[in-house]
Point group: C2
Chain length 284, copies 2
């Protein structure tokens, strides 16, 4: 598997977990060093990772994207708590016989990443939280009506994706068009679409996560790994100030907000974000 292989050309593999689930995943980049495991956003499958970002990460890093239990091509039923999704992610990582990994969780994937770091700290070296918030934070009980309206319907449309993931500026819209083209850039070996069951289970989990419970905030003080917290400066799905709240709770953490960017900041600023991730993960 050479470094020159592009994410759009990587075939989907499967591995059997101890829970009986057959997980779908794609792995690329040099098979040396600590792997970086990607945790996907709401309703996303393997094709929803921007290939430009994954290629930039895999240029010098063993990168693994996977469908969690019940999501897209992975078997099983999607659970309705991030705690269970974290347990399912741990089972996947164990199935690949990986001792220690870095995590990059995006959106609800960042909630799963927090849970993995809290549940099985020995498995996790460093964590990147992209568009994140702590469980129990005020104002997180469901997404804004226009956002869940744009991406939460039975049938999704490119315009809804653009609305939730990019700002209204020409630059951000243009980046969104590029990402949309990339996401649909693979003609063969595409992942399966995520189901309505997955959508509902994931959003149920969001509602549980967002139930105000201020004591829960303190959980994050137990995350001892170095954590890089990133977001767009104009994310209306998970507001940027939650990044600062998260950072105020995790002792060894820092925040970077990317300009003129919304939820999809890490795709819009793929090159800069990948460079920041490499710098963070490579630091001793």
């Amino acid at each position: 598997m050479g470094a020159s292989l592009k994410y759009l050309d990587v075939e989907t593999s499967t591995v059997q977990g101890a829970n009986g689930v057959r997980y779908a995943y794609r792995r690329m980049g040099p098979q040396t060093g600590r792997p970086l495991v990607l945790l996907q956003h709401f309703r996303g499958n393997l094709d929803n990772w921007d290939p430009e970002l994954v290629d930039a990460l895999a240029a010098s890093r063993d990168v693994i994207a996977f469908d969690n239990v019940g999501v897209a091509a992975s078997t099983g039923v999607t659970p309705a708590t991030f705690e269970q999704m974290a347990g399912d992610a741990i089972t996947f990582i164990e199935a690949l016989e990986l001792d220690t990994v870095d995590l990059l969780g995006f959106s609800i994937g960042s909630f799963v990443a927090q849970e993995v770091a809290l549940t099985r700290p020995s498995l996790v070296a460093k964590v990147v939280l992209a568009s994140t918030a702590p469980q129990g934070a005020p104002g997180m009980h469901g997404w804004a009506p226009d956002i869940i309206g744009a991406i939460g319907e039975p049938t999704t449309a490119p315009e809804g994706y653009l609305h939730a993931f990019f700002t209204d500026s020409p630059g951000s819209r243009s980046a969104g068009q590029r990402v949309l083209g990339s996401i649909y850039g693979r003609s063969e070996g595409r992942d399966e679409e995520t189901t309505w069951q997955t959508r509902n289970a994931q959003y149920d989990a969001v509602m549980r996560w967002g139930t105000p419970d201020f004591g829960m905030l303190q959980r994050l003080t137990a995350i001892r790994q170095p954590v890089f917290i990133a977001n767009g400066d104009d994310d209306r799905m998970i507001l940027p100030w939650y990044s600062h709240l998260t950072a105020s709770l995790i002792p060894d953490s820092f925040v970077k907000l990317y300009p003129d960017a919304a939820h999809g900041f890490l795709f819009q600023h793929a090159s800069a974000f990948a460079a920041d991730v490499h710098r963070f993960l490579d630091a001793s």
Copy 2:
């Protein structure tokens, strides 16, 4: 007392409270409508209100600035909790025989304003919180070393004030120089300087307020008044994201951050801020 009288020319009055304290205050503007009571920042006395801001507020509003118990020319000993300062503020407002007031609290004055609104809601119609944060929020246990170093020493200097209240940009520094000139613009009838006892009691109160206690955050959900939350977008003394945290807790509230401004944003943007305050307080 005509609307043409300027804050720099307003004489200091005194009133005896039911607690035996003789409060120093200055009142100006039309003596009609609901008075606006100003609650001052750390170590500030009556002269530390930017005359440009007070004049803009008093152009169409009955404005009252006062020294709380033990502060500057008011008698008594400064207490070390914002709860007690709020009780002392209520006693002052009662001494003036005011039934209902609006509050504008700046910095630690905004903490006092929160406590007044929670303790005696019937006394308070609307609240402006300038550079605020909720009690118990993470990361509030003391100010950044460079900030408390700049304004917390026994002897204060203009450079320290500029560092804590303004950004490093030429525009903000220039505003800071104007404000410094205004603060020292009064030659006769100046207020007394605040004491080391006041400094220590107020900072003790800050430390108590900042002791992490996440359950305390929920107190603010009990503030039912309309609340305007304002800050500079680059305040390093009380960080801007605390404004969003506060807004997420107070049901009827909104946030505005002023550009290229630090803790002293309300002086730097005196005209715009006063206009926003008038609009908010005049709205039905």
